[in-house]
Amino acid sequence: MKILTTNYLTCALRACKSHPSSFPLHFRDAELQQDSLPFNAAFIANILPRIDWPALLTTATELGFTGLPAEKPDLLATAEMEADEGVGRELHRILLETQVVEGKLVCGNCGHEYAIHQGIANFLLPGHLV
């Protein structure tokens, strides 16, 4: 699972969605993998407004990434990002090239644990929790 995805993911229990402590989900025993993907500046520019920055900082810190600025950078122009090595590339590295391949995600509200195996998260809820 990419770090990008965790910034949008919520607990699957409906009752949790309105609780601030349910987001972001927290990684436990996370095993990371770094991939190498072509840099897509236009994609970063498109999704940046929808990134929850405090949640990203929480996740990044939990996984040991400390290179992000405390505040969300201003809207980045695609051409600018392509030209320089700054925050756009760092976002690309963390959001898209970093994957959690094993471990679990835990909800801070209900405590439910979602297992991640071979990069695939299991979000099937048992019948009594639906």
Binding site: K2, F23, A42, F43, I120, A121
Partner: protein, 211 residues
């Protein structure tokens, strides 16, 4: 030939053998890819986008998204299908999840969603304590919330009959979507039905017929 969704729920039907058979059939590959490309062209996305693939299966539809430089997240209830997607090294993030239980993403996450040959499975509720109506409602409400304002979804499906077709379309409209049905090759045995959904706007102009 009986319809697969009449025999077993999707997580049981698409076991390792059926999933492999499905994914390696060149006829199915060609059809799935061309329907995914059609769905993508109906979305007419202006930028590289974040897309939800509903019932992503072994990643055949996702590969069409990757080819157009989009990033996708896929949900599927069949572990066997997802295992094949892993083997094929598809670029999307994969979730083992039941779309009838909802869509676990925060509001406004996705630019768009696609689904190829999956949502008719929602009408099969044999294995659950929830009715088909309840599962459809959960799915469409969740999908609606997870798309950004002005976002779109194109869902190709195989309605079993008129009742199922209006049940699915009705559930989408009740969730708040502007909805239209588009048919390719109408009146033939190759007819393909696309439910074209918009968030925060009425039915699409042109092409799609109002429901």
């Amino acid at each position: 030939m009986s319809r697969p969704e009449d025999t077993l729920p999707p997580d049981l039907f698409y076991n390792d053998r059926e999933s492999q058979k499905y994914t390696t059939s060149s006829r199915i590959q060609t059809i799935q890819t061309s329907m995914a490309q059609r769905a993508l062209s109906l979305l007419s996305l202006p930028h590289p986008s974040l897309i939800l693939d509903v019932g992503c299966g072994s990643g055949l539809s996702g590969e069409a998204l990757t080819a157009s430089e989009h990033t996708w997240i896929g949900m599927d209830i069949s572990a066997s299908m997802l295992a094949i997607a892993l083997d094929r090294e598809t670029a999307g993030d994969l979730f083992l999840a039941d779309i009838g239980q909802g869509v676990p993403f925060r509001p406004g996450t996705f630019d768009a969603a696609i689904s190829i040959s999956a949502i008719q499975w929602l009408c099969n509720a044999d294995s659950s304590h929830v009715s088909a109506t309840g599962r459809l409602a959960r799915f469409f409400e969740g999908l609606y919330a997870s798309l950004k304002r002005g976002g779109k979804a194109v869902l190709q499906f195989y309605p079993k009959n008129e009742v199922q077709r209006s049940m699915i379309t009705g559930a989408a409209i009740r969730a708040g979507f502007g909805a239209g049905l588009l048919e390719d090759d109408p009146g033939t045995k190759n007819v393909k039905v696309y439910l074209v959904l918009t968030v925060g706007a009425g039915a699409e102009e042109g092409g799609a017929e109002d429901v």
